[in-house]
C-alpha cells in the first residue's frame, strides 16, 4: 500500500517523498498497520484533524466492504483455477511495487549517488544494519526506528 500512497501523495503535491518517509517512521512507531497509520498522518498534515478522520475512513471502508463480500462468497471462489492463476501473476507485480517503493525512497533520501560521499556511505551502512536486524535478528521495526534515531543524533548533529 505504501508505494501507491506515495505515488498519489506526490501527484497531488501533498508532500515531498522525504516528508512522506518521516510520516512512515512515525507510523512505524505507532501500533497498528503502517500503511493505515501513514494514511491518517498524510490526512492530518494536509487538512488537520478532519483530514485525518476522512483518510482513516477512506482506508478502512474498502477493508470492511471486502470482508463482507469475502465473508459471503469469495471463499468459494478462492480455489478456482482462474482466480489462482490471476494471483499467480498479480503477486510478482505486488513484489515489484514494493521494490519500486524502496528504490524511490532511497533516491529521494540521497542514498544512491554517483559520488560516494561520507553521508551516502554512512546511510548505506545504516540501511544494511537495519535490514540485518530485521531479517536475521528479527527485531521489531519500532525498535529499529528508535535505535536508528539515536544513531542519527550521534552521527549527524
Amino acid at each position: 500500500m505504501i508505494p501507491v500512497i506515495e505515488i498519489e501523495v506526490s501527484q497531488h503535491d501533498w508532500m515531498t517523498t522525504q516528508q512522506f518517509t518521516d510520516i512512515i517512521a512515525i507510523a512505524g512507531m505507532s501500533p497498528g498497520p503502517i500503511a493505515a497509520n501513514s494514511a491518517i498522518l498524510v490526512g492530518y498534515s494536509t487538512a488537520g484533524i478532519y483530514g485525518a478522520i476522512v483518510s482513516a475512513l477512506g482506508i478502512l471502508l474498502p477493508a470492511i466492504l471486502l470482508v463482507i463480500v469475502v465473508g459471503t462468497f469469495f471463499i468459494k471462489l478462492h480455489h478456482l483455477p482462474v482466480v489462482r492463476s490471476m494471483f499467480y501473476g498479480l503477486r510478482p507485480i505486488v513484489t515489484s511495487l514494493v521494490i519500486y517503493a524502496s528504490v524511490s525512497f532511497a533516491l529521494s533520501n540521497n542514498m544512491i549517488s554517483k559520488t560516494l560521499s561520507w553521508q551516502t556511505a554512512s546511510l548505506l551502512l545504516v540501511f544494511g544494519l537495519s535490514l540485518f536486524a530485521l531479517l536475521k535478528l528479527r527485531w521489531h521495526p519500532a525498535y529499529v526506528i528508535i535505535l536508528s534515531g539515536l544513531v542519527g543524533v550521534v552521527l549527524y548533529s
Binding site: 505504501i2 513484489t95 525512497f105
Partner: protein, 207 residues
C-alpha cells in the same frame, strides 16, 4: 433490543483493548484475541479464530483490522463487523495522531532532524524487508521471477493499479499457455500455505 446494544458495545470494547497490541503487525493480537474472544467471552471456538486469521491473510488490507472485522461479522453480522472495526482502529488512531502532532512540533529541532536522517535509511530497509517477505510467497518459478524483474522499471511509467491488473491478466495467459504445453504448474508456494509458522512473527504486514 437492549441486549443487542450491550453485545455491540462488548465487541467494541474487547477490540478497543486489543487494538494497541497490533504494533507493526496484527499477529501480536492472536494470543489476546484467543484469550478475550474464545476463553473469556466464549463467542467463538479456537478453530474459528484460526480460520479467521487464514481468511484475513487472503484479502488485501491489514490483518489486525481484517481479523477484527471478520470476528465481529461472525458474532453479530454487519453491525458487529463495524463495532469491532471501530474498536480495533480507534486506539491506534489516537496514538498515531498524538505522535504525529508531537513530531510536527519538534521536527525543526536539529537533534530530531539528525535522528531522521538515519531513520529514513532504516525506513528504506523496512520496505526492502517487506519486499523480501512478499517475494518469498510470490516468486514460485522463472515466469514469476521475470514478471517481477520487468515490473520494477515498468512502474516508473505506469500507474500501480494498471500494473496490478496487467499482472493478473499476464498470470492467466501464462498459466493457460503452460497448460497447453503440458507443464505441471505450481501456482502457490508450499511454504506460504504453512501460514501457522508465520504467525509467531510477521512484520512485512501492512506495508
Amino acid at each position: 433490543m437492549k441486549e443487542r446494544w450491550i453485545l455491540l458495545f462488548q465487541l467494541f470494547w474487547t477490540f478497543f483493548k486489543i487494538g494497541p497490541a497490533s504494533f507493526g503487525g496484527g499477529f501480536a493480537m492472536i494470543p489476546l484475541i484467543e484469550k478475550e474472544v474464545v476463553e473469556k467471552r466464549k463467542w467463538l471456538k479456537s478453530e474459528d479464530v484460526t480460520d479467521v486469521f487464514a481468511l484475513s491473510q487472503s484479502v488485501p488490507g491489514a490483518i489486525a483490522i481484517n481479523s477484527a472485522t471478520f470476528i465481529g461479522q461472525r458474532i453479530y453480522g454487519i453491525k458487529g463487523a463495524i463495532a469491532a472495526m471501530i474498536g480495533v482502529s480507534l486506539p491506534t488512531f489516537i496514538i498515531v495522531l498524538t505522535l504525529g502532532t508531537l513530531y510536527f512540533f519538534i521536527q525543526d529541532n536539529p537533534k530530531i532532524e539528525a535522528a531522521f536522517v538515519s531513520i529514513r535509511a532504516s525506513i528504506v530497509a523496512i520496505i526492502a524487508y517487506a519486499a523480501i517477505k512478499t517475494a518469498k510467497t510470490a516468486i514460485v518459478d522463472k515466469s514469476t521471477l521475470v514478471l517481477m524483474v520487468i515490473g520494477v522499471p515498468a512502474l516508473f511509467f505506469i500507474h500501480p493499479v494498471i500494473a496490478i491488473l496487467a499482472g493478473a491478466l499476464i498470470g492467466m495467459i501464462t498459466i493457460s499457455i503452460k497448460r497447453k504445453l503440458g507443464y505441471i504448474i505450481e501456482m502457490d508456494n508450499k511454504e506460504k500455505m504453512d501460514y501457522e509458522n508465520e504467525l509467531e512473527y510477521y512484520m512485512g504486514e501492512g506495508i
